[in-house]
């Protein structure tokens, strides 16, 4: 049931990677930043973390907008190195700022009774919270997929990633569209970060792992397909959970290995949308 969590988180990365074709190495760090913001918000106000989302998500979205508009837009070009470098630099800055202000301790947020509540379905017991995440991830991905496929905005984003100068000729401003897409991506990162902060503990340095899991979900699912990402996240979640059942404390390794198997034998991913050599 980890899949739901990864799906929310990977959706934003799938948007950045697959649709916008930008490499972001700071995605995990932003999720962790969002988790810390939510943590402080709940501590300051006493509200549950879910309400903190109402504040954290717009803040992160605004941040994503500004970042895409004023910084990342400059790095787009034929070479991937500038965007790798800038986003990596941002990740390092966020991580170390958090290390200074928050210490390296593991933190966790709580939803109270929902944390441990479970539905008894006879054969299996399903946690209420993971189940909620699963539904939430379906809803979020559904909305995102609909926006990308059906709306003017979604069409514009997809067109820009194919051929920005032509889109500009048609009277659309690629930079603004991409800035909004960047805002959506970081909003999803924020939801994913807060959700993961409730599910498991987090620390300033856990961004790298979050990024890796999301990336694995995107690749397993197939680059460029949002529903593929959802499937990929489920596969990764199942692999980690089942793996941990058979080899205690090796769940993550099993997840990685499943990812590598997909890379070796099914490099186009589950959706098979993009062919790569």
């Amino acid at each position: 049931m980890l899949g739901g969590l990864y799906a929310i988180f990977a959706a934003g990365l799938s948007l950045i990677f697959g649709v916008m074709k930008i490499v972001s190495l700071s995605y995990g760090a932003f999720a962790v930043l969002a988790a810390f913001l939510a943590l402080h918000f709940t501590q300051a106000t006493g509200w549950p973390p879910v309400l903190a989302l109402l504040v954290v998500v717009p803040v992160m979205a605004a941040f994503g907008w500004a970042l895409q508009r004023f910084v990342l837009q400059r790095t787009l070009g034929t070479s991937a190195l500038p965007s790798i470098l800038v986003t990596f630099g941002i990740a390092i800055i966020i991580e170390n700022v958090l290390l200074i202000t928050e210490s390296a301790d593991q933190k966790r947020m709580s939803l109270g009774w929902i944390d441990t509540a479970a539905l008894d379905l006879g054969l299996i017991r399903l946690g209420v919270y993971p189940l909620g995440l699963f539904v939430l991830s379906l809803v979020l991905l559904g909305i995102l997929a609909w926006v990308m496929a059906k709306t003017q905005f979604g069409r514009a984003v997809r067109a820009i990633s194919e051929d920005a100068p032509t889109v500009e000729l048609l009277g659309i401003r690629p930079k603004m569209i991409y800035a909004w897409a960047g805002a959506i991506a970081l909003a999803l990162a924020a939801i994913g970060g807060v959700a993961s902060g409730i599910q498991t503990s987090f620390s300033p340095t856990s961004g790298g792992m979050l990024l890796i899991f999301a990336f694995e979900a995107v690749i397993i699912g197939g680059i460029g397909s949002l529903w593929g990402t959802f499937l990929g996240a489920l596969v990764l979640g199942v692999a980690q959970t089942v793996g941990a059942n058979y080899f205690p404390s090796q769940g993550i390794l099993i997840g990685h290995i499943v990812f590598l198997i997909f890379l070796a034998f099914m490099p186009q991913g589950l959706s098979g949308k993009v062919k790569r050599s």
């Binding site: 190495l25 400059r74 200074i100 090796q250 990685h256």
Partner: protein, 339 residues
């Protein structure tokens, strides 16, 4: 090298520029002086210089792969770890001479890099970057499965206890110096060769390079493996100079951060850039070591500034005013009999 055609006046190709005629012997002279360094200064000053040399090796190797081969890996820490573990296993558990164990450890890392390349090369650009990171995590998780390798807590190196403390520091310094010399030499020769030309073509446009007869994947694989060997030897040197291998620090993505920042600040795709970058990085570290995280934040800001505003790095800024090169890798053609 002179090529002549019957009708045309002879074309003369010069590889050595006025600056590289002085630059290359200058670098060699620096190496000679550095060889004698342990006799001239207190040994407490030698350890930091060993670190600088490791930085130069790492930077040059990453640059060879990314700057010339166009492969921006974020997973080079895999080979640092493999080299370090390889050295400890070879020197302590197999009993290989320490001087022989360094190149062998590099070779182990190279063999693994060769195997990894088949997986990693399925990805390109940014996907390649994160893919190599995942692979590095897998290498770490697998190595920490073995009780003989100390599981998650690492192992100590005992082979160096054959030397007394002063000599030990000097020996690890000399090994680092030797590897740096060889690494730089290989970089220069590789970039200077026809292969290096093909490689640069692959970086700039793989399709066009393939059309012109460059075997793209073979060229990329070769640099990837060479880079793995060099990085592995750097890892072996780290093990020798710290006397311990610790998986969490050796396989830390911070190493890749270090390599990328060094190369980009110095100047990507030039041979001089990584050396300058390593010196800047090392100087910053020595000056700001007490500030810990703050230093990494500062470094991140500098690297972003360079990526946004000075793509060529420090070396690019120097070259903007005047063509200047330390190593004879360029081409200059002139017609007629002059020059």
């Amino acid at each position: 090298m002179t090529m002549t055609r019957p009708e045309l006046s002879p074309v003369k190709v010069t590889r050595w520029t006025r600056t590289s005629k002085f630059g290359t012997p200058g670098v060699l002279l620096v190496f000679v002086i550095m060889f004698a360094l342990p006799f001239m200064t207190a040994l407490s000053n030698i350890r930091p210089v060993t670190d600088l040399l490791v930085f130069i090796i790492l930077g040059s190797m990453w640059n060879l792969m990314a700057g010339y081969g166009g492969m921006e890996s974020v997973g080079q820490q895999a080979y640092i770890g493999l080299g370090a573990y390889g050295l400890v296993v070879l020197a302590d558990q197999v009993g290989v001479n320490i001087f022989l164990a360094v190149p062998l450890a590099g070779l182990i890392a190279g063999v693994i890099a060769f195997l990894i390349s088949f997986l990693a090369f399925r990805l390109t650009g940014g996907y390649f970057a994160i893919g190599t990171w995942v692979i590095a995590e897998v290498v770490k998780l697998i190595i920490t499965q073995f009780p003989s390798l100390g599981l998650g807590s690492g192992i100590s190196l005992y082979a160096m206890s054959a030397f007394e403390r002063d000599l030990r520091i000097a020996v690890s310094y000399w090994i680092a110096l030797g590897v740096t010399l060889v690494a730089l030499l290989i970089c220069v020769l590789l970039v200077r060769s026809g292969f290096g030309l093909g490689l640069t073509a692959v970086r700039d446009d793989p399709t066009a390079a393939a059309t012109s007869g460059v075997d793209v994947s073979r060229a990329k694989r070769l640099v990837f493996v060479i880079s793995g060997i060099g990085t592995g030897m750097a890892g072996a040197i780290i093990a020798i100079s710290t006397l311990t291998v610790q998986p969490d620090s050796l396989f830390s993505v911070q190493w890749s951060v270090l390599m990328i920042f060094m190369v980009v600040i110095g100047g990507v795709g030039t041979l001089e850039g990584p050396i300058i970058g390593a010196i800047i990085f090392w100087g910053l570290r020595e000056a700001l070591a007490d500030y810990g995280s703050l230093y990494l934040i500062l470094l991140g800001i500098i690297a972003i500034a360079f990526a946004l505003f000075f793509r060529g790095g420090v070396w690019g800024l120097i070259q903007r005013r005047r063509r200047f090169s330390v190593f004879p890798t360029g081409y200059a053609t002139s017609f007629g009999r002059s020059t």
